[in-house]
Amino acid sequence: MSDPEAPPAAFSTQPSRAGRRLRRVILVAFLVAAVIVAVLPLTLTEQAADANLDPATLGIDFAINKSIVRAETTIAMFIALAAAWNLIGGLTGYAAFGNVAFFGLGAYTVGFLTDKQHLSFALALPLAPLVAAVFAALIGIPLLRLRGHYFAIATLGTGVAVGEVIKNIDAFGGGTGLFPPILRHADALFFYLMAATAALAVAATWLVLRSRFGYGLIAIRENEEAASVLGVNTVAYKVAAFTLAAALTGLAGGVFAQWTSFIDQESVFPIQYNVQMILMAIIGGAGTLFGPVAGAIVLEWLILTLAGGGTNAVYAQIGLGVLLAVTVIFVPRGVVDFFGGSSKLSLAYLRRSLRETSV
């Protein structure tokens, strides 16, 4: 604002000089953090391999590192889920409330193939996104004809119903669940797999945002009739975005199944995942490239820190609900909106967001 050459913030779509500097600082800090995060799991395996010992005898450092890597893996998983949701919810503007169905399907694909069919994890994993994608394409054709609330609740119902159907089929473990054979000392492997899934989801978003396909999706979000008139094959585009999101979500589910080595309906079809991934994308900034990543890191870190388990988990859930309400009311465009430089976080910003949407 103090810079005389910069255009008034209100009319500028380009970030100001201060905004650009802030962005550079954030980017560098992010890269440094990313390198540390990426290298940490290596220390874990080296230590384990060198000592060739049971984790229990490796001491407290190892245990702490192990739990950090576990947390990193969880965060990477939610980056993948939020970024995948962003493709259908953020870019296309379809309020998908049931992506957990694809997560669960991916998890059950790996669980079923490794536990019941004794396939190796490496062979089973590629089928997880495939199954989720095929299911999404089939169900997407009727469901994506619906708009607004109808689509939201229909997808919410999908998440619930798929979990229930699978629980009722004995071949898939029924009420007992499935037990993929445990891979020992593989914490680093699962972190890198999950991180790769997250990177794949972000890369896919990057590619989509730069493609004709991405412009078509945004056109659908802004005005579906107009997009259709302009020659966008809206049905094909929507189903493709839904299927892509499902494949990425299913892949994360597949990795999750082998990572936890036990899955049942409750662990891989949790309804709150639906909303967590949406909240992450919205807090960060729906429709943007890094919004879901930022949202997933911040929110999942908060959840992991607050919820030590036991009674704390209840208060963490209450906090999550309150955060959801505050976000929706005050920062509906996500934090990327003001850290990106086009607007500033101020009381006026919060008041404007509030006034725009209230009666």
Binding site: A152, I153, K167, N168, Y315, I318, L324, T357
Partner: protein, 295 residues
Amino acid sequence: MGGAAVTLLIQQVVLGLMLGGVYVAVAIGFSLVWGILNIVNLAHGALVVVGMYTTWYLFSHFGLDPFLTLPIAALALFVIGYILQRGVINRVIRAPLFFTLLLTFGINLVLINLFLVWFKADFRSVTTSYSGTGLVVAGVTVPYVRLAALVIALLLAGAVGLFLNRTRTGFAIQAVGADKDAAQLVGIDLRHVYALTFAVGAACAGVAGGLLSTIQAISPTAGEPYTLQAFVVVILGGLGRVSATVVGGLLFGLIEVLAQSQVPGLGAGWSNAIAFAILVLVLVLRPQGLLGRLA
């Protein structure tokens, strides 16, 4: 043989209609809020649970008959609903619908976890002297509490219908539902009418919760299935009329009981899947519902 099969079928139809009564009670408030405010209230199930706990508390601490607690549950929920809408949901009412979905989900999350803090995850029940007894007519059993639930649900639907079509406030609510800007132009206070509509919807949820507490176990998450089921009822009947909700609810109850008892392989664990199948079928084949007008 034939006679027994017919009796069994009649028994299932009776049970289906009574289950439908429960669905009618749950869906009336949900339908009202959706139709007028254009909000799909994902916290509806949690509001039903508030009603359940209200009845349970009055029954177990003061020995009040569960059916006598219904007005108190309705009143409590009316107040909670008014505050929720006026204080919170009104803030995002002009935002894309997606945000109201997220907001009501957030409210749902907070309520469920508050129940967990206050009441723990224990299952509670309201068992009266007449629980488990019923009328037997020609071999068909009609459980008293379920019969009462059906009758009260229909009375509730009638009361809401009369309120909307016979009172000034009801007209104001309908006017806001039809065109909120025009309603504001003729001097209707939108903020108040929104809050009032949500409050009436919540009060209906309270009555539904009170009725349900005599029928099923009470726990913090007991209301969760009812949000999806209320949605299915509204889709099935059609949005915008109380009578459509009644037809949708009764039909949904019938379909569920008959599908679970007549279709081999389907059992009690399939109720969400059945609800979802109906939902998708109706949405694809007849999106305006069986009795609905096109939006």
